[in-house]
Symmetry: C2
Subunit: 305 residues, 2 copies
């Protein structure tokens, strides 16, 4: 395609798919909602799409009559020293990718449309937001809960799609949806991984080749934990020790935490007696990465294998 | 009517009007919503209806095809030392009154239906909730914002009705509706007063005859402020001084605050140059009362009278 044709495609996609105000979004979705059998799906994202986002769009496309993807780098979920300014953005590429997945509409509002002058109300998760990533990212989950509540109220989706990679975000949003009586089903899709096992993340773009290679240790350590639990290991401290040792073997990977918790309320568990969530966070160079897996107890000692 | 007939009426009203679970409420309202031209109105209250509540129901009845009144004494908006336990309640009387106003449905859930085990998410207003009543009732407005957000999500009303008597509550809820993109119109109805001027409140039931008589000074002081502003007085300090002097004349009335503020963001104003809100709170015996009026500048010096 010539660069001229590219420009035409870009303009066409923008006019067909892109919505930048809440009012226009609501109008378009309300039109779709009144069609017989309408099922409205929302995929909230910060854009810069990777295969993980695509898997959410595909799930939504398979289950819904109308699919909205939001792409908004939400300033209030970033700490003052975090990467809000450098977070990768590419609206035209995202539009083309969303169009390729058959998305009906992409909501990419400017910041001043989302947070208007005098903005003064937050949705604040409690205890569930304090451990894991919440410990090192104070205010992050209230930023997440607030933007998701806003999107729920603008779109009023039947179903919203989130990735399991952000396990604490999933738990916080499930809790919020229940606590504030949102009439929205929360669907969680499996983590999508690069060939070496590294969980897909827009932030992976920050990684050097060597960092990317070493970062895959998080996947290997989680897999080892999963295997240990499946083979009958129930000791949280033994599983964590093993993981820390593996991760410690990669000199570019600086572990922030490795925790084994109840997957619903994120409270630490003392042993892997029922399904448990093992979650890790680490800095690899200047990049903060997170990942997790479900542990299912198995082996000779499992209660009901 | 015999007491037997009364009992039958009570049972009939309960079965016809009363809903106690969010699921049943949503089902009933969703049925009403699909009728052509449906307009859903919500009147959130803590029950123990007085003429103020009735004026809200009448406004809703005049404007909506389907009217829901909620009556729930919301524990999380009461401080530890406040009157949650003694707050007046009379479900059967409320049902009869609501039926008389042509309300379609009354939502009076038990506490465990509203706040389920593990409840862990609050809607938290910011600066707007810190002054006036917020200063002496920390946590009150987050309790209010949270229950109203929940009711909005359960009912999904087109319009919700609130009384101007609770001016800070109105400002907090308007702010929340804007900030969280609730698709709900907020209608505010004038304060309804007893013959002597005392603003109607369920808490007036706590007052002795003498307290009730003295409490009317709040109305008289507000009226004097309104008159002064209308006659060209712009000095906030002079208006407040006059009001304090009047209120100080009633020995049972213990003033908590008298403030003149911007009616939207509740920030104090220095002079009455445009419409301003004058708000008072006082203890009369063991009863905390609030009231307010709008001040409209007038007289020879008014900018555009």
């Amino acid at each position: 395609m010539s660069s001229n044709e590219n420009a035409v495609t870009r303009l066409d996609l923008r006019s067909r798919l892109l919505v930048s105000t809440a009012g226009e979004l609501r109008r378009r979705v309300d039109e779709a909602r009144i069609r017989p059998g309408a099922v409205i799906g929302l995929v909230p994202t910060m854009g810069f799409f990777h295969e993980g986002h695509l898997s959410l769009m595909r799930a939504a496309r398979a289950e819904c009559s109308y699919v909205i993807v939001s792409a908004f780098v939400n300033p209030i979920q970033f700490g003052a020293t975090e990467d809000f300014n450098t977070y990768p953005r590419d609206l035209d590429r995202d539009l083309a990718v969303a169009a390729g997945e058959g998305v009906d509409l992409m909501f990419a509002p400017p910041e001043h449309e989302v947070y208007q002058p005098g903005f003064d109300t937050m949705v604040v998760p409690g205890k569930i937001s304090e451990g894991l990533c919440g410990a090192s990212r104070p205010g992050h989950f209230r930023g997440v809960a607030t933007i998701v509540a806003k999107l729920f109220n603008i779109v009023k989706p039947d179903t919203a799609y989130f990735g399991q990679k952000d396990a604490q975000q999933v738990a916080v949003i499930r809790r919020m949806a229940t606590d504030l009586n949102f009439d929205v089903a929360i669907r969680v899709c499996p983590t999508v991984r690069e060939p070496g096992g590294l969980a897909m993340s827009s932030r992976n773009t920050y990684l050097s080749d060597e960092e990317r290679e070493q970062a895959a240790v998080l996947f290997r350590a989680l897999s080892a934990a999963k295997e240990a639990a499946a083979s009958g290991e129930t000791s949280v401290s033994r599983i964590r020790r093993k993981m820390k040792k593996m991760i410690g073997g990669e000199y570019l990977v600086d572990l922030e935490y490795v925790k084994i918790v109840n997957p619903v309320d994120l409270e630490p568990v003392e042993e892997v007696a029922t399904e448990a969530l093992v979650a890790v966070a680490a800095r690899v160079g200047r990049t903060r990465l997170i990942d997790n897996m479900m542990l299912t107890p198995g082996g000779p000692d499992a209660a009901d294998a």
